[in-house]
């Protein structure tokens, strides 16, 4: 259950940020979409309550009304306890104590959530990338869904830099799946953990790689980087990156939004046009991929083989 940031701006009177540090990572989130905005139905800052849930006190805590510091790795337990309290079920106080919060704090949070006219829960990498991973995200989404028995409540992921949201959307509408899609058999198959990049590279499954709009040479686990260096890797990037240095082919492209036009998606899945102010001496990623595709298409079609002979 989600909504646009415009709705948040105009309606949300109760805002939770969980496992994120918008003050430093999404600097204009407060001012453009949430607490610092005058909304149609929320006249000022006083009309909104902001709760920050995190494992340490970040600069975002200063902007919050309530800061809840939880024990690292206990997000799932906190969410599950909240879900129980929302339904008025009994909870185990010993387990609550392990989360770093008291039952009073959690009960207070639930009461406030229920009293809200429009609640929104933004969750960041601090939730989805720690112990529990996608189970945490699933739990948060379930909490938001269950809250709708009492009031309007939505959950929205705080997506990172660039156009990651666009990648999800485009992959979804072209293949039916959001990421990690295998088309080796000619049709899309989806299985995270099997066809996700880190797993593929660490296992050494791929025998060539095309990297664009990312620098895994700086962010992947080392065995994955080693494998990228072993196989022919092709990099498209406006700069010569870490990955370019271990690649066979690097092509310099225009920088997205600065010298390359196009569309990108905001974190709430609203597509926005780019207005690049500069003209790049380099071609855009779009153009280079299209040219590679044309060059591949000129070669004879691919056929499955059995014992070296083409199958019919």
């Amino acid at each position: 259950m989600t909504c646009t940031l415009g709705e948040v701006k105009n309606r949300a009177d109760f805002i939770i940020y969980w496992g994120g540090n918008p003050a430093e990572c999404h600097p204009r989130h407060f001012t453009k979409y949430t607490i610092m905005q005058k909304g149609k139905f929320v006249p000022n800052r006083k009309a909104r309550t902001m709760v920050l849930v995190d494992i340490r006190e970040t600069p975002s805590a200063k902007a919050s009304d309530i800061f809840l510091q939880i024990t690292p790795g206990k997000d799932f337990e906190v969410i599950t306890t909240l879900r129980a309290l929302v339904k008025g079920q009994r909870v185990n106080l010993d387990l609550v104590a392990e989360t770093g919060l008291t039952i009073e704090q959690l009960q207070d949070l639930v009461d406030r959530m229920k009293k809200a006219r429009f609640g929104v829960l933004f969750f960041g990498m601090g939730l989805s990338m720690t112990r529990g991973k996608h189970m945490n995200s699933a739990a948060v989404l379930a909490l938001a869904a269950e809250m709708n028995a009492f009031t309007k409540f939505v959950a929205m992921p705080m997506r990172g830099h660039g156009n990651v949201t666009g990648a999800d959307v485009v992959l979804r509408y072209t293949t039916g799946y959001p990421f990690g899609i295998n088309m080796c058999r000619g049709y899309p198959r989806f299985n995270p953990g099997e066809f996700s990049t880190v797993d593929l590279l660490v296992r050494g499954d791929n025998d060539a790689a095309l990297i664009l709009g990312a620098d895994p040479g700086a962010t992947m686990p080392q065995p994955g980087i080693d494998h990228l260096a072993r196989i022919p890797t092709i990099v498209l990037d406006p700069k010569v990156t870490h990955t370019s240095r271990l690649s066979r082919v690097h092509i310099t492209t225009a920088a997205t939004g600065i010298s390359a036009p196009g569309t990108v998606y905001r974190m709430d899945e609203i597509p926005l046009p780019l207005r690049p102010p500069l003209k790049s001496p380099y071609p855009s990623d779009e153009e280079v991929i299209r040219r590679i595709h044309q060059a591949v298409a000129k070669r004879p079609g691919w056929r499955p083989t059995l014992n070296g002979k083409a199958m019919r």
Binding site: N163, L210, P238, V249, I251, S259, D285
Partner: protein, 115 residues
């Protein structure tokens, strides 16, 4: 020198994708970024339209884009299980081209989301 002013430009540095930025640019670089936050400002000022890098590199040596495209096509064509990965700092138009390329070469396509 006259500046090229772009109103309502879009910043793609973080997921906020602010589309209310006013950019002032000369021929090569962006000199003013009104309403952008400090992250957005350094993002815009960090990229210029100068020729800082060779058009393409093959095995670390400068090459033309045509040669690099052919070399890339060769590698991808010959591979049994090529990977197309990244997609975060590119436009949706480029992402669509990447999906269609991945389909033709029979590969895996994946984004940052899977990390």
């Amino acid at each position: 020198m006259s500046l090229n002013v772009v109103k309502n430009a879009t910043c793609t540095f973080c997921g906020c994708v602010c589309d209310d930025i006013e950019l002032h640019a000369d021929d090569e670089r962006i000199v003013e970024t009104k309403r952008a936050c400090s992250l957005g400002e350094s993002w815009f000022k960090n990229h210029t339209a100068e020729r800082l890098y060779p058009d393409a590199l093959i095995d670390g040596k400068p090459a033309t884009v045509d040669e690099a495209v052919e070399a890339a096509a060769d590698y991808l064509y010959q591979a049994n299980m090529p990977l197309v990965y990244g997609l975060s700092n590119v436009t949706c138009e480029a992402q669509r081209e990447a999906v269609s390329l991945a389909e033709t070469i029979g590969g895996v396509i994946d984004s940052h989301t899977s990390l």
